[in-house]
Amino acid sequence: MKQEIAKNVVLNIDPIKKFRTIKVQIDFLRPLDKEETTKRRLLANVLSNSTRSYPSFRTLNDREMDLFGSEINVYTRSLMNLNDLAFSIEFADPKFLLSSDDLLKENIDLLSKIIFDPNLKNDHEFSDDSFETEKRNLMSNLASVDDNQDLVSMLKLSSLIHRDNPNKQVPIFGDMVHLNKLTNQDLYDHYQKVIKEDTVIINVVGDIDEDEFAKALDNSVMAAFLKEARHDSKITFDSFDKLVGHPLNEEEHKHLNQSRLALAYVTEKTDPDSSHLAPQAMNLILGGDDQSQLFLQVREKNSLAYSVSSSYHPLSHLLTIQAGLDAKTVDQAMELIGKQIDFIQKGQFSESQIEHAKKVLSTRRKISSDSIQYYIMHNIWENIYPKSLLNDDRYQEELDKLNKDHIIKVAQGIHDIAQYRLIGD
């Protein structure tokens, strides 16, 4: 069931029986803005710290446990050019429990309180306890990022490829510069904007009665907030054109056991008569799984890396490669990676590699529907950019028509746009 409650407020209910839990997720979306990114992450943490009726982290956690371990998750993530502030609660399907509690109602009530009935100090600030604690926690988390070398490498690569987009220079979890100057009142002001202006997508997945859910939602604190019209959140696309032919390179040295390579390439738009899935198939052959060229050549044959892989991001046409290796073998690995790209560009891969790629694409798609998150993500994309979704028949058609020439064409249109080397010494 899909229902537009108000302009840019959408409710999707997927009454699916196979899961043993029920999940309600509410996404608040607006365009990424570097001045807001850190605020939104801190807001996520402050709101999930406590509420007016559960005024400490401890009492809120007690409540989750009382509800048979309901899991609350509040976080931010980027979806293309949008900043998605997502709130979710997942709870045990009461049909599997010997309990007389009205778990659906109680959980919706708890989620409503987290979003719309926060723990306040006055009418323009959050409680000092939750604000100060979460600000400190976030500071500490940001400091720890530097100890995660894979993350550091990917952030550096992202910063290089988005050099001209200031809104993507701040990581989605925020940065110290903005956090340091963030006040309680700034945060509360942003909160007011979020709950009044952001596009809202509500998803419910699990074995529930749609009317019962609608009634519980209507009786909750959030009902009043969801009936007002909200701003649009339009998708825009990254452009890496300026980097084609002028790739950016950066190398840093740290005292580490392992060096990291993070490489970015952009692919050209596929021809209208070519399969839409050709770039994904090309990525699978290059480095998408344990049968790929990178895995077999860089890892298995030459023993240079334990971890080496590639990923493809269809909406931004971005191909990335990551590897962890010994500093002495970085150049050798770079040469091997180049050779694998060349191998695909020259069409030296076999028909069985194409068949394998097709099989994996089809399998991953169907297996992913064994998780609640699949339905939620599907519904979100359907609302913000439906063109990104192919239905099952269309997906199969695209797989059926995929051929070697399509893959070669994609590979020949790969352009190196950035390279980050973190050298351990």
Binding site: T21, E64, L67, A143, S144, S303, T363
Partner: protein, 413 residues
């Protein structure tokens, strides 16, 4: 209550234990073959010690067969495959939409036919060495090894599961084969398939499969307990300090009693340092911890311990606070009936959450088989725990003699 999961379970004549669970509505079939053999099993009855990392090396190299790699076969039948080694288990798994029976045959081929050669062992060393180097750059990983070396000084559990660059040099195709033959026996393994498959067909495939190795359960050296370490610290190039506090719980318990103990210790920790505890709140208010603070309870044969860890700028205060507040007396004060009921509900919820995932069901079921616990009856085991049981365990385990610590301090020189 809605219909609970059903399983088909059988001990076969060839020694294998098989378990099949149908998960209605799911597209995938997930299979796991688990050996009751992990990184700690390096002490032999004749006092010889195998090189650290040998179980993990076997896990990597079993995929190699004459002229092919097993992952290719899985791929041909539409499956993706993987494997992992823990302190006490090694597991091989596949996930597929199609050909579940062919993939099961490939899984059997994978665990039954070693093909260790001088050449393929040499080439794997480089790969595993990179895996080790990767872990050495992860402070949480390093800290776990250090605290384990305080909990069990010099014990195999204190070594990296993958071994070290030095121990890799001592692994060769001969000791790999010998170790494999000692430990990969049907009676020491469990096979679980979760998916829409016919249990009779699974039984017939596994029954017909020939295992060319010794029968019986492998002999192992009885463990001698060494005194707990007094704690320690070291400097590391870090942005943020990390601390861990360890509690060793020496217990003769085995099988379902051990699994029950694990739940009881989890309840103790949830009450004392979980997110809804007074201590968590105090540690946060005193700015000693951030939200990376967590605890982990491990209860395995010969190894039962708790590790509490997190980022901190005040390692001394971190240790002092936990030393002072982790006590039976405090637990007795805060674990009232309401709190106990709440914690139990949380554990029951967690059990249901896991049932959304075929891989969680398969892996937990296989693991629990080695403790004679039926995964599908776990809810009754949780339900049977009484507040008095938990208090008794706390009285026995929360003693200062059982405590130790380790800190990783940022090297700011």
């Amino acid at each position: 209550m809605a219909e609970k999961l059903q399983k088909f379970s059988k001990k076969l004549k060839n020694g294998y234990q098989i378990e099949v669970v149908n998960l209605p509505g799911y597209n995938q079939t997930y299979g796991v073959a688990m050996a009751n053999f992990g990184s700690v099993d390096i002490l032999l009855p004749d006092q010889k010690k195998l090189p650290a990392g040998i179980a993990h090396f076997i896990e990597h190299k079993l995929f190699a067969k004459p002229g092919y790699d097993v992952s290719e076969k899985f791929a041909e039948y539409g499956a993706n495959s993987n494997a992992y080694t823990s302190y006490t288990k090694t597991a091989y798994l596949f996930q597929t939409l199609i050909n579940p029976y062919d993939n099961l045959k490939v899984l059997l081929d994978l665990i039954q036919h070693p093909n260790f050669t001088e050449e393929n062992v040499a080439s794997e060393r480089g790969i595993i060495d990179q895996e080790i180097q990767m872990y050495l750059d992860m402070p949480e990983w390093v800290l776990e090894q250090r605290i384990l070396n305080q909990l069990y000084p010099g014990d195999p559990i204190a070594e990296d599961i993958a071994g070290s660059s030095e121990s890799l040099q001592k692994i060769n195709y001969r000791n790999l084969l010998e170790t494999y033959q000692n430990n990969y026996r049907p009676s020491n393994m469990d096979i679980v398939i979760v998916g829409d498959v016919d249990p009779d067909k699974v039984e017939s495939i596994v029954s017909e499969s020939k295992f060319e190795t010794f029968e019986g359960v492998p002999a192992t050296e009885a463990k001698t307990m060494v005194p707990i370490g007094e704690g320690g610290s070291e400097k590391m190039e870090l942005s943020q300090g990390r601390s861990s506090f360890g509690i060793r719980v020496d217990t003769p318990l085995r099988n379902d009693d051990l699994v029950k103990l694990q739940f009881e210790l989890n309840m103790i920790m949830e009450t004392l340092v979980g997110e809804s505890s007074i201590n968590y709140q105090e540690l946060t208010n005193q700015e000693i911890i951030d939200d990376s603070f967590s605890y982990n309870v491990v209860a395995e044969n010969d190894y039962c311990f708790i590790i509490i860890s997190g980022s901190t700028n005040y390692p001394e205060k971190f240790q002092q606070y936990l030393q002072k507040h982790l006590s039976y007396e405090q637990l007795y004060k805060v674990l009232d009936d309401q709190k106990f009921e709440r914690i139990k509900r949380d554990a029951i919820g967690a059990y249901l959450f896991a049932q959304n995932s075929p891989d969680a069901i398969a892996n937990q079921m296989a693991e629990l088989h080695f403790y004679d616990v039926n995964y599908l009856e776990l809810i009754h085991l949780i339900d049977s725990i009484k507040r008095e049981d938990v208090l008794k365990i706390a009285e026995d385990s929360l003693k200062k003699d059982n405590y130790t610590y380790y800190n990783l301090l940022p090297d700011r020189t």
